[in-house]
Symmetry: C2
Subunit: 236 residues, 2 copies
């Protein structure tokens, strides 16, 4: 009973600490109020549990509230390919837009809570709230840009890919109020490899090389970045 009340309060986007990052970012106060009425707070997941699986029916656009997730596709050889990493305030589910079936799976990388803008309401809501439609288009556009950027980046040498990945994480953590120079990788070496198109050994060796060069300090999943400009130089 109390839990339900708390949920009702927390799910209001205007009370959410992520309102400057998440869907509300591009919406007016009134518009946020209206989408708040249909946004559903979903149950918390543990590492390894899925937000949705490839082939699932599209149920709605999701927003990470806390924790991180990976967006993956499995190939015919049983290898996992990580298309993207999702941080709090980021949206996912757009891969379900075509054919109303998801073409990717979304898996929690750690304890994760999230919200859902149900598919049923999405269309009606877009008609009533033009700002929402614009935001949906903008977000899909950003996803497209991310993917094409990824296609380009994956052709570069291991050193550049990893440098770009670290800086990208750093900047995204920073925008969420975390430190940009010290954070924990939400991924294993294997997963970083899957994301960057490298063998896990290559990731390990490359991290060590950055450390030997004094650019970073690696301690298992903990990363300290000492020289952001130098790291950026490697791929810019």
């Amino acid at each position: 009973m109390i839990d339900k009340l708390i949920d009702d309060i927390q799910v209001r986007c205007s009370n959410c600490s992520l309102d400057t990052l998440c869907l509300p970012r591009g919406l007016s106060e009134r518009e946020v109020e209206r989408i708040s009425e249909v946004i559903k707070r979903k149950k918390t997941l543990q590492r390894g549990e899925s937000l949705y699986r490839e082939g699932d029916a599209f149920k709605g656009i999701l927003a990470i509230k806390s924790g991180t997730a990976k967006l993956i596709r499995d190939d015919q050889h049983g290898n996992e390919h990580i298309i993207n990493i999702l941080l709090p305030g980021e949206l996912l589910g757009f891969d379900g837009f075509s054919g109303n079936r998801h073409s990717c799976s979304a898996i929690a990388l750690e304890t994760l809570s999230y919200c859902e803008l149900p598919a049923d309401d999405l269309e009606t809501l877009c008609l009533k709230i033009p700002g929402l439609m614009r935001e949906m288009f903008r977000h899909t556009g950003e996803k497209l840009n991310h993917d094409s950027q990824q296609i380009v980046r994956n052709k570069r040498p291991a050193e550049e890919r990893l440098a770009a990945f670290l800086i990208n994480l750093s900047e995204r953590f920073h925008r969420r109020g975390f430190s940009s120079i010290e954070f924990n990788l939400p991924l294993t070496r294997q997963e970083m490899g899957n994301h960057l198109g490298l063998a896990l050994e290559t990731v390990s060796r490359q991290l060590k090389k950055f450390q030997d060069q004094g650019l970073i300090t690696v301690n298992h999943k903990n990363i300290q970045i000492h020289d952001i400009p130098q790291l950026k130089k490697l791929y810019l």
Copy 2:
């Protein structure tokens, strides 16, 4: 004067031979009539001319009427990366959805004619024609799927990438009423390399290998596919 009349007639989607492939595919007859009123027929382009350039303001969603185009991003080293190839009836421009600026350039690969659904009308039209909004979402979803598929495929060996590329072209030509076993590549070896993340020499060698294996016959840009199932086996 006469030209203008012809244009007015041709631009009506219901009279267009591509109406089963292009935007009209997912729309009712009435809906097609309504979008026809705002669709603009654009002037014909020659090889190398651009439909839009990276950084350009988003002006609308485009549809290829005849000819082919490439969607590219240039990296910091002046290398061109081909994100996608566009055939008649296919839509492009979605990379302009975020920030109202294009993040890619679209360049004609041969003489090309195309239509435009202007950005100004897009939003109002989506509000009036729910089917159009659904179609826009579906198309962006398909673009996302294509890109993530590309990310996965680009990690595979050269042989698989090229086989998949040839079969993909074959099937898309087929859907447009062309032969699936004989067609002209709209790309140079260099461009195929740029698309598949390979050196042009690798493309050339790999094509020769397929030919030596009796899978295809290559004659400059002309390709004859002799054994589609075997070619598919290489990557499935």
